[in-house]
Symmetry: C2
Subunit: 549 residues, 2 copies
Amino acid sequence: MGLVQVIALGGVGEIGKNCTVVREDDDIVVVDCGLSFPNEEMLGIDIVVPDFTYLVQNQSMVRGVFITHAHEDHVGGLPYLLNQIDVPIYCTEFTQALIRSKLEEKLPHKKIDIRIFKHGDRIAAGKMEIEPVRVTHSIPENCSMAVRTSHGIVFFTGDFKFDFTPVDGKLANITRIGEMGLEGVLLLLSDSTNVERPGWGPSERAVTAGLRNVFAEAEGRVLLTTFASNIHRMQQVYEVAAEMGRKVAVVGRRMEQNLDVCERMGYVKVPKGTRIRLDEMRMYSDKQLAILTTGSQGEPMSALVQMSKGEYGRLQVKQGDTLIYSARPIPGNEGAIWRTINRLFNQGCKVIYESPTPIHVSGHAYQEELKMMINLTRPYYIAPVHGEPRHQYLYNKIASQMGYPDHRLFTMKDGIPLCMDDTSAHFGEQVPCGRVLVDNSGTMDGVPDEVLRDRFNVANDGIVVITVPVDTTAGEMAGDPVIQARAFSGPAGILDAAYDVLFDALAALSKDELKDTARVKHDASDVVRRLIQKRTGLRPLVLPIVVEV
Amino acid sequence: MGLVQVIALGGVGEIGKNCTVVREDDDIVVVDCGLSFPNEEMLGIDIVVPDFTYLVQNQSMVRGVFITHAHEDHVGGLPYLLNQIDVPIYCTEFTQALIRSKLEEKLPHKKIDIRIFKHGDRIAAGKMEIEPVRVTHSIPENCSMAVRTSHGIVFFTGDFKFDFTPVDGKLANITRIGEMGLEGVLLLLSDSTNVERPGWGPSERAVTAGLRNVFAEAEGRVLLTTFASNIHRMQQVYEVAAEMGRKVAVVGRRMEQNLDVCERMGYVKVPKGTRIRLDEMRMYSDKQLAILTTGSQGEPMSALVQMSKGEYGRLQVKQGDTLIYSARPIPGNEGAIWRTINRLFNQGCKVIYESPTPIHVSGHAYQEELKMMINLTRPYYIAPVHGEPRHQYLYNKIASQMGYPDHRLFTMKDGIPLCMDDTSAHFGEQVPCGRVLVDNSGTMDGVPDEVLRDRFNVANDGIVVITVPVDTTAGEMAGDPVIQARAFSGPAGILDAAYDVLFDALAALSKDELKDTARVKHDASDVVRRLIQKRTGLRPLVLPIVVEV
């Protein structure tokens, strides 16, 4: 029996783009395949996906990708993986309903191989076996994933909380998790996102009371924004709206699509007559209306942001409206979200974003829930995932308070294999791993790093283009050089001064040197770059162009 | 008697660049002159200052700028105002000590006219009179500012909290504020930053206990980062360090400068032998050391951020270090701050950023303190300042719960005068007002909006430069056009395709059209822009250059 290797291609030391490999000999299973969102330094980037080189290199060994749930940070990388290798996707029927259309849209010429499992199924994958276990989270049909290896179970908690009053009434299968603990968990890979929060998190059901209060006090229409995948939240809005005599309209493409699917499949139960179309709103008074909308992260093209700017054609906000901000900002989005909220206030819409009775609860386990998961699974080794280094540090501190010695606690890094047998573990050699930055240009390739660097330079200090017409046969200038700057803001006269040094530098070149376009470009950009930096401290991108005449 | 006008040139509907005008007939006084920090959409911008056009246009009326305290959002705009008009600055001796060197550095050829006041002084300013009143905040010698007009007092709370155990023992002059209430406050302009926080804020002194806990439990050195102006916080670090047998070194230019000034003037009292130079650290064990550092906002060039990257020459962090994050993120800086903290964890430095005993308290009043200020001043009119629309909304809601009718509560906007006499008030006509975006190029002018737009376009989608060599005398192409792209990432072949359409478009031009460089530029950029947008959805900046040969 060889070692079991666990390799995160994303999702440790960070929150987002979860994708983890379990490998035993020549068999590989992948758990989740997510995306993450760019930070403010990644200019022009829309999403970030893992670098799948390791899976491409070992594609003959990959038995399947097993999906815990349909959130973007667990499924959003699938099109980019399937674009490179053929591999079956295993997931619940619900997850399939949410992801299939997106996959087919992105990969129109590809046959998508999705295989449905139920919680409790045991799926063979080479020497390994995978068993999804039901746990609660902020989306229906969520799974922990047990991967049975020769050395014991590698147990992925997936995203979870222990919610004893979930909106759909489907409880976590705690007993089955405990049985796995008895059977022998080699490694627990635990969600650690909320490890900073003491105690036990509130049930999703707690939001009902918060919604009731806002609905009762609202002078006019009630709007609510949340993630388009937060199906349970939307179920609660339907219920409270029906109870309070309000109809519910939905705006935002992704939210409408998700609700349509969920209502059809029975994952959302709409009280009779409660959901209306947008054009039916005029039949009701403001106090009879509620509206579900996308835009909880301040996304520029979302319905809510456009409403806040008065630019949404289908619906306007107005004096007397109340918006419930029923979500948590993804770090980095705070600025855009507050700007949206402030614009709504300026339009007379009151925004509720904090409340003594909760209007949002997290889908992730708090400290005591995390400890309970350790207690149930009784793992030999532990490694926190789905967290930044600060979360990993604190999680391991808590595990050590539960008696775990340091050599059984690991702080994983993306791309570094954790290699284990029954009683020993060590980190292996780094495998190919990284991030691929994708924009919305329609290609699925990443934007190269040098393009990002150029964007950063131009965004800060602008670009200066130098054009030099040269008769390369004669080795002579064929006209005057041109300097043009864009996105550049220097003191008056700086470009004239740059032109003078450029002119002198070109005049100093011999015929042979002028025939050498690389030389011309180098000298021209060098003198201009130096002058600007010396006079202004600015470092614009300098682009020399030699036009051969 | 004419109306009294209050005009915010910055600082209402936003947090930052506080600058407010009080005008009675031909007399103008200005309270504060601050800067704000750019949001993530303001590419390449370092600071934002108010547009001072209104003061420039009325400079003969401006009697003085009265400074409440030395925080950047209250003084950082001064160099940009003084660059445009001559006006005396009135402030405390302490404030002067912190700002004079910065003003002289920025305006080397200008005589800076700073006049020192003490709390309780009455300073004549044309028909008006200004009286600074001592209130507590997170910096020494802070003031509220009472501006006496013919219609009553316009009372600026300035940034404040009611701290009954301030670190320097200097209490707010509550009685004097109450006397002003008896005398007659026409308008209260109140800090509203913390209006979302219920109750009464903790005293700055509360931080001592939090620091003691961390110092006691730290395995090695203790580092603490806070704002360079948070003098009281640094005083507490000195005291706790001395108590615990640790020496304190300081890194970060601005923090060192501020401490030098404050220690010299007696605003910080260093326990004997506690402060050491950085090069003396080697004489002590890790458990005998504490370090104060700048970088609490994740500023790229700060000591802390460079230490987190292992790029700070003077000091490295190491395993066993503990950093206390003793500050609050300015909105928009969260991403940079968390990245810094995570990098520190990766280097083995434990970071304390939350704690059951506080390691940071706010300098701004909570709800009950805000109510107490209303109670003391008993104003006729109220307008919250130093807050975003969400804060203004909530503040006015609280004031109305205290019995204020709507017509006495105002939600001011930058540049819209609030015009009052004893018993009536209305908004006047907008005056010139706006924001000036300043970068670090050394010029004091703003970066124009079109430069920002270009930066935004290039940052998202790159730049495509088209160079067309033309013999404008003959009306002929003088060589082949050139297309070059930077910061651009399109699918393979897109630039070749663009070249083809460009070539065809140029070939279609007549001799007369080729002589018209504007026409050539237009046609060339038009076909290229359209093709790229159609094929990729990208909208790069397209820059056409005609080189006349």
